[in-house]
């Protein structure tokens, strides 16, 4: 149907700096949150989102042997975006080192609380609209956003859906496989659902959120980490985007979950069966 056989695909990948997944977190004494003076890294689901965007670019390059093979002339561009304190720039650099072309940093103060998912979604939407206004016609418009399905700190898992709702775009959550057909402007996504999988076909533009099974993220090589320092990063404030970060919800307190203490070990299978019986558990 489309006159042009190929289209540019502009992918936006929002990434979050979060407490590293291996850290044993502690609730702070004031019960206002957890102690964040610990190792941080890119939210694992976002690493998968970055990786997928790069793979989409690689697949598009390999499917068109006529096009030169340097990423700079690729029909796919990748922008990584983060919202956070100055230190969030680290995760942006990580995304750039792995293969994103440019970065966007929406900066908040060191001591400021992270915005709620809805404010994040509004910020991303505002940036996309700005970008698309600049682009005017078809070229340069953002047509695909890939996010992690949840951040491992607040475990909400709502930002992608909210963004798709605000933009009125197609959404494919919990993706375990993504196939882009640039010519037809359609993306086929396999989603993880309760009890199995679901395949959907989305018309671009689309918001995709990543499941763990989508891919295995690569590591950045040292030369690429050096190169990433030269890649452009646009710095903005929430005010530039006209977004209000005042939270709608009030965090009353954050507490430790009830502690479970192990009940010790048994020496043999017979003893184990005896313990099970004690608890009233026998063969079905």
């Amino acid at each position: 149907m489309r006159p042009s056989p190929r289209r540019l695909l502009n992918i936006l990948v929002p990434v979050k700096r979060a407490v590293d997944y291996s850290v044993k977190i502690r609730v702070n004494p004031a019960q206002t949150g957890v102690d964040t003076n610990v190792k941080h890294s890119m939210n694992p689901f976002d690493e998968i989102a970055v990786e997928e965007s790069i793979r989409i670019r690689e697949r598009s390059l390999s499917s068109s042997p006529s096009s030169p093979s340097s990423p700079s002339s690729s029909p796919v561009t990748i922008t990584a975006l983060t919202i956070g304190p100055p230190k969030a720039l680290d995760v942006l650099r990580t995304a750039l080192a792995v293969g994103a072309d440019s970065g966007v940093h929406i900066a908040i103060g060191e001591k400021e609380a992270m915005p709620e998912p809805l404010a994040v979604a509004k910020s991303i939407k505002a940036w996309i609209e700005k970008q698309n206004e600049k682009a005017g016609g078809k070229e340069g418009r953002v047509d695909c956003v890939i996010l992690g399905k949840q951040a491992i700190d607040d475990d909400s898992g709502v930002t992608g859906q909210m963004l798709a709702g605000l933009l009125g775009w197609s959404q494919a959550t919990f993706a375990s496989k993504v196939e882009v057909d640039e010519a037809s402007g359609e993306v086929t996504v396999t989603r993880e659902i309760d009890g199995g999988g679901m395949q959907v076909r989305c018309r671009l533009p689309v918001v995709i959120t990543t499941d763990l099974r989508l891919n295995e993220p690569r590591y950045a090589s040292l030369p690429n980490i050096m190169k990433a320092k030269k890649k452009p990063v646009e710095k903005l404030t929430p005010a530039d985007l006209g977004v209000d970060f005042t939270p709608q919800l009030e965090v009353v307190r954050v507490t430790e979950p009830p502690k479970r203490v192990g009940g010790g070990k048994v020496e043999s299978v017979e003893e184990l069966v005896a313990k099970l019986k004690e608890a009233g558990i026998t063969a079905a």
Partner: protein
Amino acid sequence: MLLRTSARLARPVCSRSYATAGSPHALVFLEHRKGKIEAGSLSALTAASQLGGQVSALIVGDSENVGGVVERAKKLKGVSSVLTSTSPQYAEALPEVLSPLLEKLLADSSYTHVVSATSSAGKSLLPRVSAKLDAPTVSDITSLEHDPASNSTVFTRPIYAGNAIATVKAPSTIPIKFFTVRGTAFNAAPVEEGAIAEVKEVEPVQVDSPTEHITTTIAKSDRPDLGVASRVVSGGRALKDAKTFESTLYPLADALGAAVGASRAAVDSGYADNSLQVGQTGKVVAPELYMAVGISGAIQHLAGMKDSKLIVAINKDPEAPIFQVADVGLVADLFEAVPKLVEELKKD
């Protein structure tokens, strides 16, 4: 009895254009598959009832299944009315197709809360709708308390893979409060003798959806459903391969009448289907008995099972973190211990 029914009939049906303090009205997105109501939705109904007001259950689908589901839903405890909308478009719960219907329903703002299970469908739909109404979605709540005087609701929810519990308040400035419910934290709403909620048909909203459904594949199993089973036997990376996973764990699961679960490591290695994954990114279970076989007990796995009543761990490594939460631990080679355990269990 008769008197009470007539009293109920005599109560005027009020159509309010706003939510008055003290009268919460929850809209619960009720999921069903093949004519059966999902267990998670039954827990969501119980949570919605705890708000202390009316509860309307929304049932959407194609004409084939909806009828039976509506019949069952109107007999459930706590359901004051059932809304149903039927369209071929609603055969699969695509958020792009269902959002406009929910927006239409919520425009009649007698609703104060929108509720679903923390299911893949609920998680996909509610935030999309809430964002359009400029409201947050509070995910995976484990308890709630509504204060009619201030029209605020306080929720608790696990954060950081269940290593902290956040208590959050949705104040009156959020007119419609969206939340998804952790199924293992609330009992399933039972059928109530003599309860018959009224049923209202809702006109479907036709949508030119940018997304179309192609196929759904559901993993088949004769065993109890992992999410609601009272006993779960889970295997980890130590099970070597898919065949060993099956030949070792299935006999044990069958001897106990248990569902089978898996750690992420086992799923990633291809030993088990990913619908069996227990943990932060998989299913959260809280059975009577959780047996962890060859699972070390990473934080993300514990997030999915540490509310189980009795945790049993079988692992070769005496230092495995799983032993810190296990009520009963056995340090042994699982390939010897599990068959022996099956044998011992069958002796009775």
